[in-house]
Symmetry: C2
Subunit: 341 residues, 2 copies
């Protein structure tokens, strides 16, 4: 390992200890696109490998979006794995196809396919952790995007640092480092990486936020805007955790039963809850009936205004209805309306 001028590695190590990202002797699967962030992540983890006795693997997903580049990216990551004797796993699939099938955006479909493959690989090959290379810049962009589209506390949590899916922990150890710091590290260490072509177009909102809006905000409003934005999730995370605890308790007291396309809640307990918890209870019931359903603030405001009455009905997204009856609050799929009331 070459002598480094930036102090990225010691800072990273201290940050790892503070957040307890990984345990000693863990098998860590590093998601790698071949771009600078994920290549830096692999090298940084590798620099700590003997000290913590980790086993590293590399996982890559070929989205087939820019065929010739995609193949080169894949080969680059494969060569990286071979050089450092790390196992290499590569998945692929037609994102365009999947986007059409699921009626989602290319970006959304790509994300879903990629993450599904990462998780399957981790489970099949017994990796306990998946490391993702998101940076402080990604965090700032996410927060700004959510703010511009309108969001609540949950959206302001931004990209999460750590979460679990079954036995696998997803970790983003680089969220407090900027892309610039990573690039500096790569340059100092003379490490090669691939340029991420998809970032070079202003096609997606996120890219326009990255390439146009953030530089402009830095210039005209606050040179430290990336830090300001990326700090919001850190501040909000603790407060959000408290609310989630309250939500869980309130849900246990309010939930009565689920019967097919129908969730029943205790009316009196529901009406006594503070509005912010009522919102979350309705949202949770909605998600039980349709995972893709979300409660907009406007829909909730409409419902809230009817809560003063004895009997009351209101429409929610995804053909779900909300009904206040003398004993219950019922959230149900619309086709069953006539049997219910």
């Amino acid at each position: 390992m070459k002598k480094t001028h930036s102090n990225l590695l010691p800072r990273l190590e201290e940050h790892f200890r503070d957040r307890r990202f990984f345990k000693v002797r863990q098998k860590i699967l590093v998601a790698c696109s071949g771009g600078p962030d994920s290549v830096a992540l692999f090298h940084l983890l590798r620099a700590l490998i003997t000290k913590y006795d980790w086993k590293l693997g590399l996982v890559h997903f070929n989205h087939q979006l820019r065929p010739s580049d995609a193949k080169k990216d894949e080969r680059f990551v494969k060569a990286l794995a071979r050089k450092f004797k790390a196992p290499f796993y590569c998945g692929t699939g037609s994102v365009k196809h999947e986007a059409k099938r699921t009626k989602t955006s290319i970006e959304e479909a790509a994300r879903k396919m990629r993450y599904d493959f990462f998780l399957q690989t981790a489970q099949a090959k017994k990796f306990q952790a998946i490391a993702l290379a998101h940076t402080r810049d990604d965090q700032a962009e996410t927060v700004l995007m959510r703010v511009l589209q309108g969001t609540g506390l949950r959206g302001l949590q931004g990209i999460r640092e750590k979460f679990r899916t079954g036995r696998v922990t997803w970790v983003r150890p680089l969220l407090v480092f900027t892309k610039k710091e990573l690039l500096q590290y790569l340059t100092e260490q003379k490490i090669f990486y691939r340029f991420d072509k998809s970032n070079d177009s202003s096609r997606f909102i996120r890219n326009r936020i990255r390439l146009e809006l953030i530089p402009q905000l830095q210039r005209d409003f606050n040179p430290r805007v990336v830090e300001a934005l990326s700090r919001i999730p850190a501040i909000v995370a603790g407060e959000s955790a408290l609310i989630e605890e309250l939500e869980e308790k309130a849900w246990k007291k309010t939930f009565k039963k689920r019967r097919g396309k129908n969730v029943e809640l205790r009316r009196s307990v529901f009406l006594k809850s503070p509005p912010a918890l009522q919102f979350r209870i309705v949202e949770k019931a909605l998600k039980m009936l349709n995972k893709q359903s979300g409660l907009s603030f406007e829909a909730w405001e409409r419902i809230r205004q009817g809560l003063v009455r004895h009997r009351y009905r209101s429409s929610l997204p995804k053909d779900i209805d909300f009904a206040l009856t003398p004993k219950n609050v019922t959230i149900f799929m619309k086709q069953e309306v006539h049997n219910q009331i």
Copy 2:
């Protein structure tokens, strides 16, 4: 009253009932600059005056910033009051002087002097409510400004709709209406108002946000960005209220005593609290010693990292120190350091 094409008045009335802004037979003091928003507010309230039996007064503050214009604004509001037989109260003071004396910005000093005068007038003349004319646009600008500077849950609450100072309630009944809607109402009703000159320069960050950034975000990112931004405080308000309840309980359990320049907290209770509440407890103790003191997230992160130790000291803003001792957590003014530890 002329027939109106926009439905502003019925919407306003419904909104008033929903939020319970004012009571029947209340004396309401309308803060009026002479600009479109506050002139519209006065006329809208006046349209409901017989129905709710309110008494309206007009209050104006002359900042002496643009002498000739300021005098014209004052005369305009005075004439408005005379025309509708409303009592008129006018205050003045040198904002430049006050800004220098208190080492704050012109904007900050103007706000403080103006609001102090409104409150004193309400108290002296026995008004129960002060009505302020902030719009949805003001709310959006505030949220965006806070986000760009970095903020937590409290900053995201934006401009509050209603709060109390002693016996006086401050109300902003127009926060859900856009400036455009108010202008349309003024045009339809053929109501005159003064142009607010201070908004025409790009001198202040807020004005640049209003005149440059928001129009650009509407054009390039989200045509409904004002709505998106102004919705955040409404969503966050409920969740923030819940946290404040928890904070109050936690404070009661943690606070031990205050002695001069020194606030003592129970160490074990403090350490057992969730981090988000620890943050708020320290912030509250800080404010007891110096009202102007605030806890930055960076300062708090430094403190938090030391909490694992038995004894520990850290510096906070405004020459205040934080100390962890075997039995207490003490927040104290620095000059007393040597007597304390």
